[in-house]
Amino acid sequence: MSVLHRHRSLQLLLLLTPGVGYLLFFFGTPLLSALVGSFQLEDGTFTLNWYQCIFTRASTLRGLSTSIYYGTMPVLLSLTLSVPLSLLLRRSFLGRKLFSGLYKLPLAVPGIIVGLMVIVVFERGGFFDRLLAPIGFTLPKLVRDDWGIGVILAGAWKQVPFMTLIITSAFAAIPEDIRHAARSLGASRLKTFLFVDIPLAMPGITAAILLTFIGSMSSFAIPDIVGPPTARPLSVLMVQEFKQGRFEQVYAMGMVLSLFAIIVLLAYYSLTSRIGHDSRKGEQS
């Protein structure tokens, strides 16, 4: 038994080695040196200076809250767009196959090009403004606006396909019968959606929310070119520091950003595993 067990562990180790080993070496090493660097002065002595800078300066503190804002808002917007879109995609309609290929296109568009698109379409005095000018309308400020609407729009543009893809699949995984059962038990379309579809698709949806939150919180090209110049997220400030060659500061900011993402991730894990744990307890009783 123990030989078999050992054999199995060995097998597991062998299987894990290529992927995990690769990442450990080519990703873990530089990451570790960055982590160490974030605690060092240029001459190598230990310091918390770089972290202190982040948590004491007005601009970086605002950067932190801006990061969270830019992480959250696009997710909320994409969610309100993705859920109805997933519901529509469930139906059969003309050209559905082509559509489900095309709507995923933004997945492949780099952030900087998305920013460029926002400028081209929404810039003040740009296309829409000119289009609306003859009828006396002007577009609200969407590029460089104080609320970062342009950033949120661009972020959502990039995330909606990702979310829709995941939510569509989450909905598709719910057996039709369960929905029909709810209907025949007197639940209207809306109630079926609220009490059956949504709870059952929740694991997929929360995972999508989490990943898009992390993605948009650390994206820098979009807020850099369409965000307001005053409130800049940590990711943008980090690139600024990179340009000055202050790597230690870059490392520290990167660590803070990553730490934040990891905390959110762990919170998610502990939440979901608690739920899993509870139900297992129920099984024993």
Binding site: Y22, F93, R96, F99, L107
Partner: protein, 287 residues
């Protein structure tokens, strides 16, 4: 509108979607697609050929192809394109090869610390690339991998590996145990099981992961530049300069965007029809 009203008077209830609504639904969705994707692309294209586009003109006053000719006329562009394609293909294949065993373990073995390994595999997605790029550059200089195609390939795989592992482990999870037992009972060895059972069944996952890896590699800039430039010129290395946000000239940036996006566009239109969404979702959305 009137038609609708009559309709609803006759029937006490109107289903949200009838067969007759399908053209309406598809018209609506395609309109949204046109507004959200086609319109920005069209405007970008107009910028790339506009020769002066000042208010209040809704369309450019006159056109020029000289900028396109200038950028496309760069004799090194084709070479960069070929380098990019070669690197992207190699990265895709190597990513798949490296990912497979690990994905198999992640998809089919229960083990302690699995969550931890999962998070670690996800880490390159979470940690800002900039933080790693510089460190990688230093390591590669020491290893003598700087300015080599091999170096660029290795560094890009760091970015493409996580998604591939996740997609493949989602794929492997769906292969029934019975199938492998059956194959084994029919006398197949490990190698032929992999070749004749597992590989054919993982084609959808490979397709999805390969697609994302290819595009990821094709558009990667930060790490490739620090490791490869100027000896290795990929398309983004050649063109990203035009996208510098602080001195960006819209017309040139628009052309560059098109050159970078075109392959992705083509791949998505082709692959969109054969790609399995559920798998893609399982790989990307599951944490």
């Amino acid at each position: 509108m009137t038609l609708l009203a009559i309709d609803s008077r006759e029937a006490p209830r109107r289903r949200l979607f009838k067969a007759e609504d399908r053209p309406l639904v598809s018209a609506g969705l395609y309109l949204a697609l046109a507004l959200c994707i086609a319109l920005p692309l069209t405007l970008m294209f107009l910028w790339s050929v506009a020769d002066g586009w000042q208010p209040p003109s809704i369309f450019p006053q006159s056109f020029t192809t000289s900028r396109w000719i200038h950028i496309l006329g760069d004799e090194n562009l084709v070479a960069a394109l070929l380098t990019s394609l070669f690197i992207a293909f190699t990265v895709t294949i190597l990513t798949a090869l490296i990912a497979m065993p690990t994905a198999w373990a992640m998809g089919r073995f229960p083990f302690r610390l699995k969550r931890l390994v999962e998070i670690f595999i996800l880490a390159p997605v979470i940690i800002p690339g900039l933080v790693v790029a510089v460190g990688v550059g230093k390591v590669f200089l020491l290893l003598g991998l700087a300015y080599s195609v091999a170096g660029v390939i290795i560094v890009q795989i760091v970015g493409t590996l996580p998604l591939m592992i996740r997609l493949m482990s989602a794929t492997f999870e769906t292969i029934p145990d019975e199938l492998i037992h059956a194959a084994r009972s029919l006398g197949a060895g490990t190698a032929s099981i992999v070749l004749h059972v597992i590989l054919p069944l993982s084609v959808p996952g490979l397709l999805a992961g390969g697609l994302m890896s290819f595009i990821g590699s094709f558009e990667e800039f930060d790490k490739s530049f620090i490791v490869g430039a100027p000896v290795i010129q990929t398309l983004p290395i050649k063109l990203y300069m035009y996208l510098d946000p602080y001195s960006m000239q819209l017309p040139l940036a628009a052309i560059v965007s098109f050159i970078l996006l075109l392959p992705a566009l083509i791949v998505f239109i082709i692959a969109g029809r054969i790609m399995r969404d559920d798998l893609m979702a399982a790989g990307m959305g599951k944490i």
